[in-house]
Amino acid sequence: MKNIILIALLLSGFQGLQAQDIFFTRTGKVEFKAGSSVEDIDGVNNEAASMIHTKTGEIAFTLLVKSFHFKRALMEEHFNENYMESTVYPKASFKGKITNLAAVNFAAAGQYNATAEGELTIHGVTKKVTVPGKITVQNGKFSGQSTFKILLSDYGIKVPSVVADKIAKEAEITVLCQYEPK
């Protein structure tokens, strides 16, 4: 429901602007890495939804935590049940704006550095974040990529001391979305 409201809000803000300025994907890829030298903890989610407005720079991501895949079923279970509590908090999201939109030319092929500023919600906790990214324009389409780190404790994710040496305090998140016109 929240998502529909978000989309409705985004769209209502876009009145008078052309629909072709809105690009989206349902198959955004998000990687989660929180391993250590003892163990790899890598999860991949290929079902993230994202929308970007090329004229206003507004950008939104949402994903379902249960769609993260891990190599081991047990790791996936722990990720969902013990850390992310994905039944209570099924979603993670980001909504914000590209702050240097003028530096990105969506009409010309090339790679542009972009910075997005906004609110990141994970595990029911919302924080203001600024993340670096790259936008690559090619053949009239474009993709967005970003890698950043989050402190698990910032989002109320508790790591028991027994496994503290296996799990990184900071998780690395990588997002890669290939956008299509709405």
Binding site: T27, T62, Q178
Partner: protein, 134 residues
């Protein structure tokens, strides 16, 4: 007597070791037919659209068998086929990522897919999907 105790101890240790090894390496959940919830694409979408909390209680993480019409066929960045089933509502559909390659599918085709429900974004998302027919 001591020998028997030692033997029991060894057997117990092996059992514990095996159980731990199995838990650590246990396989991912499979789509077990007996646990399947059968639902139409439009009624599944409507359930989430009307009341996400109730729909989550009914469907989240459950194995679903969904029948509907293919609205879109996409490929994700891992090369997997992603089907979007028509929900009768332009706001969203049922998105199902297939784990095995699927060929010969066309838009407007009626299909039945199975997958685990990850929840609702503006679409209902099914992961680890398989195609039951055609």
């Amino acid at each position: 007597m001591k020998k028997i105790i030692a033997l029991i101890g060894i057997v117990a240790l092996i059992a514990i070791g095996w159980a731990a090894w199995y838990a650590f390496n246990k396989p991912h959940r499979s789509l077990d037919e007996s646990q399947m919830i059968r639902v139409q694409a439009d009624s599944l979408f409507l359930a989430f659209q009307q009341d996400e909390t109730t729909a989550n209680a009914a469907y989240l993480d459950k194995a679903l068998e969904v029948s509907g019409m293919i609205a879109e066929i996409k490929t994700n960045q891992q090369g997997q086929t992603v089907l979007v089933l028509d929900s009768g509502d332009p706001m969203g559909g049922i998105v199902c990522t297939l784990t095995r390659p699927a060929e010969g599918l066309v838009k407007s085709q009626q299909v039945i897919v199975r997958g685990f429900c990850s929840g609702y974004l503006s679409d209902v998302v099914l992961r680890d999907g398989i195609l039951v027919n055609p």
